[in-house]
């Protein structure tokens, strides 16, 4: 697939030249259905669109959405902690051997990470092999989503210096505004504390035609390039424009909080 230019904000290797950068271990954490898969999927497609290879690893066997979108994804054989731990080791071996970034979906992740942390400190391991760990902490407006994120951060299961707090607009109830829905979270003192400590907060905008894309087996960049999905359909120009604007908006979010060089 040809590289697709999507936004006025250039990202990474300009003029189609892939940028050589340290591999990134991007780990999605947070409760299920909080937009982590969408963000990881975007980062995977973004890296590939810019000419960087990336390993896709879906450890959430109960909702293996990422593996559904990327059929070659690595998956643990079962969701038993022992199997998932062995599988994480296999993922890390592949990262170390290939020097490629990893997009890792661990679902809720706390149980496995707490167990795995006894065998191998992920952040230290990343430093050892020259990789950069990145935590993607996803939440909707439900205060318990943030509580879950907070408990993960405080427990220190996986607390790299690079963390992004992702507020997912898609989860805002139809009868509420995003401002009203997220206000209880963004005005909390402990939310401000996380930001003060270095976490970068971004707003993940909703994409109205997301289901349309998914059901037609189209990636974001393939859709705007006019390619055919697995259904054989080409995205219509209206939805193509929506996807293009969504990508541009998300790129701007990432650029404005200064995390472009954190991404896979």
């Amino acid at each position: 697939m040809a590289r697709v230019e999507t936004t006025e904000i250039e990202t990474g290797g300009g003029a189609g030249v892939p940028t050589k950068r340290a591999p990134v271990l991007a780990v999605r954490l947070g409760r299920g259905r909080t937009g982590g898969t969408t963000l990881l999927d975007f980062l995977i497609q973004r890296a590939r669109n810019q000419g960087r290879e990336i390993i896709v690893a879906d450890g959430d066997r109960r909702n293996a959405d990422l593996a559904g979108l990327h059929p070659g994804a690595m998956q643990p054989p079962t969701d038993e902690t022992g199997d998932v731990k062995e599988w994480i080791t296999a993922v890390l071996i592949r990262m170390a051997e290939t020097g490629r970034s990893v997009a890792l979906d661990l679902g809720g992740g706390d149980r496995v990470l707490s167990e795995y942390g006894k065998d191998l400190a992920l952040t230290e391991f990343c430093a050892e092999i020259g990789a950069q760990p990145l935590a993607l902490l996803c939440m909707g407006p439900d205060p318990s989503d943030f509580e879950h994120v907070l408990s993960l951060v405080r427990a220190g299961y996986f607390a790299p210096g690079r963390s992004v707090l992702v507020l997912n607009e898609n989860l805002v109830p139809a009868n509420r505004t995003a401002a009203a829905a997220f206000e209880p979270i963004v005005t909390r003192g402990d939310f401000a504390e996380l930001v003060k400590a270095g976490a970068r907060p971004i707003y993940l905008p909703a994409l109205a035609c997301m289901d349309h894309l998914r059901t037609r087996g189209l990636g974001f960049y393939a859709a705007i390039a006019g390619e055919r999905g697995t259904s054989g359909e080409v995205m219509d120009p209206v939805r193509r424009f929506m996807v293009k604007k969504w990508i541009a908006r998300l790129e701007r979010e990432l650029a404005e909080v200064g995390v472009m060089d954190w991404l896979p």
Partner: protein
Amino acid sequence: MAADDLTQLITANRAKGGRHSPVYCWMRTRHDALAAAIEADGASWPTIASMLVKAGLADGTGKPPTPERARKCWHQVRKDVAAARANAEEKRKLHVSIPIAAAALLPSPMPREPWRPVDRPPDVSPSDQPAADGGEDLLARLRRKINERSGRT
């Protein structure tokens, strides 16, 4: 820690537990991919055994795996994975959700051995530095974005 060390870590962990051979662990970790490959192309056990030998993996007796031992090990892995999946499915069916109100009363799980900070400072880029204003700009930006999307501008 290099990849070789990680492989040794698996081997060492297994040696401690002593339950499964490195070949078994290797096959179980890659169960889905291996099953798909065997289903698509059939199983050539001499080829698979040769690949395992090249990877330096040993069977339960510590020897390089023969085709027959590799086949038997795969049979065991398939059986165990099927049983584990059936067990997980059974647990899922029996799982009773904790009501939200009750869950809110439960304390956050704490690790018995929290991770320690890294001994050496990681490589940092300018974007790794915490915001000089204590993140006020980042918070103000976030609120502005949310307001924009809510039509409050």
